[in-house]
Assembly symmetry: C2
Homo-oligomer: 397 residues x 2
């Protein structure tokens, strides 16, 4: 990450808010490995290694980033370190980094304000320790062995609520990523497609995502013909033929923030083989449901209700059994994060949530379709981050 679109002040606020949220969870510290929580608090977009990198955030006092010595140059360059918001603690190849974590917790234990029990919780080694949700088991089991008296929980109990409500800068990064993905959709829909393999088109998508401004292209589902009935189809050697649909589901990261856009195409070929009535009915049902769901977005609406808006319409048209996944997922520094738009999630949407709306209808062995937008929940309703047409893209070539 060479640019810092998120200012240091934001990181200071985020760290303070995370610390302030710990007592209510009866937790004494956050232990964050490589991943979105770490990047959210510090701006450090580290890569995952079998060597432990861990930000120790005590409820009171300064946070310390424990990292392997050979990662230190990168760690030092992160926003929170440059702004002196956190301390750094390198470890050598032969050190035990878990002992370093314990030492940091002991240090926070010994500070007078903690010993006075000012906040009324249990602290340090004995208090709850909240680890990042995607911390590897190999690290968690070592931490559990090093700190046998601690109760371990998930950092998401603190971080999820914060991260699910995006700052203005975050929404603009997500919008830039979404618009870049929109441009790639238009480029792919310009063809040619007939006679090419899914894998070739997928590679073109990944390249174009970067050309259009992503730091990385991360996925490019190109599910043609009967493959379009498999929601997470991996692009393969199948050659795209005239007279069939393609589900194009693409995304990448721009300064850590994900795009995720799906459009459905129909390839007519020179023979001009138009969509069948059966497919048109399916697609029109889907299109109406997705449009209604976008229009329904507003603060206070339960995620489950938003899911139901589309699901009812799809079921009414006879496709209830063919909409086999939830409506959507939050997006930010993780591709999939809170809020999840699923029937089991009764939590109300709040302004600043950013999530996908991506109903799909799949007829196994035959074909399927999906339409996906990223939207922000604005104070007054939906703020659409994608702007490209949701209609069926009819491609001749």
């Amino acid at each position: 990450m060479s640019t810092h679109s998120i200012p240091a002040d934001r990181h200071a606020t985020r760290i303070a808010r995370a610390q302030a949220a710990l007592p209510a969870e009866d937790a004494s510290a956050l232990l964050l490995g490589v991943g979105a929580d770490l990047q959210y608090l510090t701006g450090y977009g580290a890569h995952e290694l079998e060597r432990l990198t861990m930000l120790v955030v005590p409820a009171i006092g300064r946070a310390t980033l424990i990292a392997p010595r050979l990662e230190m140059a990168l760690a030092q360059a992160c926003t929170a370190s440059e702004a002196r918001l956190i301390d750094l603690a390198p470890w050598e190849e032969t050190d035990d980094p878990f002992a370093l974590v314990a030492a940091q917790l002991d240090a926070s234990d010994s500070r007078p304000e903690i010993q006075l029990g000012a906040l009324g919780g249990t602290w340090g080694r004995l208090g709850g320790l909240l680890v990042s949700d995607r911390l590897w088991a190999t690290f968690l089991l070592r931490l559990q062995a090093t700190l046998p008296d601690a109760a371990f929980g998930l950092a998401s109990t603190v971080m999820t609520t914060m991260r699910a409500v995006k700052d203005a800068e975050e929404i603009e990064l997500l919008r830039r990523a979404a618009l870049a993905a929109d441009r790639v959709v238009a480029q792919i829909a310009a063809g040619p497609l007939v006679g090419r393999t899914e894998a070739e088109v997928s590679k073109e998508v990944l390249d174009r995502l970067v050309t259009e401004g992503h730091d990385e292209g991360d996925f490019a589902i190109v599910a043609s013909g009967p493959n379009s009935a498999s929601p997470h189809h991996g692009p393969g050697p199948r050659v795209i033929a005239a007279g069939e649909p393609i589900v194009l589901d693409i995304g990448g990261r721009l300064e850590g923030y994900w795009s995720d856009t799906t459009r459905t195409l129909w390839v007519t070929g020179d023979a001009d083989i138009r969509p069948t009535d059966e497919f048109t009915k399916l697609f029109d049902t889907l299109h109406g449901a997705q449009e209604a769901q976008r229009a329904a977005v507003r603060p206070g609406l339960a995620a489950a209700e938003l899911d139901a808006v589309g699901r009812k319409m799809i079921a009414k048209a006879g496709y209830g059994e063919n909409f086999i996944h939830r409506t959507g997922h939050g997006t930010g520094l993780d591709g999939h994060e809170d809020p999840y738009i699923v029937s089991s999630n009764e939590a109300p949407l709040v302004a600043g949530n950013v999530f996908s709306i991506e109903p799909g209808i799949y007829i196994e062995g035959k074909f399927g379709a999906r339409i996906e937008d990223l939207v922000a929940c604005g104070v007054n309703g939906v703020d659409e981050l994608n702007v490209s047409s949701r209609d069926l893209y009819v491609v001749r070539g």
Copy 2:
């Protein structure tokens, strides 16, 4: 994975060997999430999701792959499923997948041969459960809550030894990946480089890795000038200038198997600015050490001894403090896996190990160099998977 270079028989053998290894660990089952262990046993190269995918491998009986319904089409297509070596158990969006894992363990408990205590261990819910090392904390904590009486350990205790000794087919996949990376090195060293950003060159490397046969290009460190002193430098906006070194460390995956190659370049520019004596001394020291380490590879040699071979030579030349990382790491379905070539690893190399030999010398703020090969430990000594020159690549343009 569209092709199956690893035959189904291998998967059958691997599953049987993993099961046979469980009693010695006092473990009743392996619980493998998405990742290399899962792919090793089944051929299923699943992508990581917040929805649980888990292969339950009991010590006796058939393994079951628990996966979200919308991943089922992909799961069914894996080698082990196509060959009917495992059973599949889909879960719906509103199911509790952890309860499904517990149910599978209960089912294995209730089989008569287990109740008879034929193998003398403790089984099912009460026995040791070995989770894959990179299973996310969010899954592990849920499993621990669902199965409070179980002792959790790491699957690597069983899987590492197996995976560290490659089959013939695996070595050939790793060789194909390494040779593809070698071709990319030659293409990049053909220039031009002066005046381009590290990020541009990095992007070209990732594209070329795919063109040369990788399924994905995963990393391309292009560390120029003073950045070459940072072992894991992220390619950035720095413009490559004449009269400086570049550390080029590149890799990707070919049918799941990683390449990982580092070469050091020197860019002279039109002004023909040759390496300084200071850099030449550093590079020659490194070159000699890396060559000696490759030559030393043989079964029975401790990994620590192999590390020492190069470290002693580098220290003798006065760069002891500047070789700040271990010599190497195993490579296979994970980019970094056993055996680690580090001073703390006294385990002897065995024929079939595949690992990197990548000493480096780094003068902070100034420059650095690294040379990295992947090698297999053959019965009679080293089998070099990379074949490109390890000399300094002097690039004019």
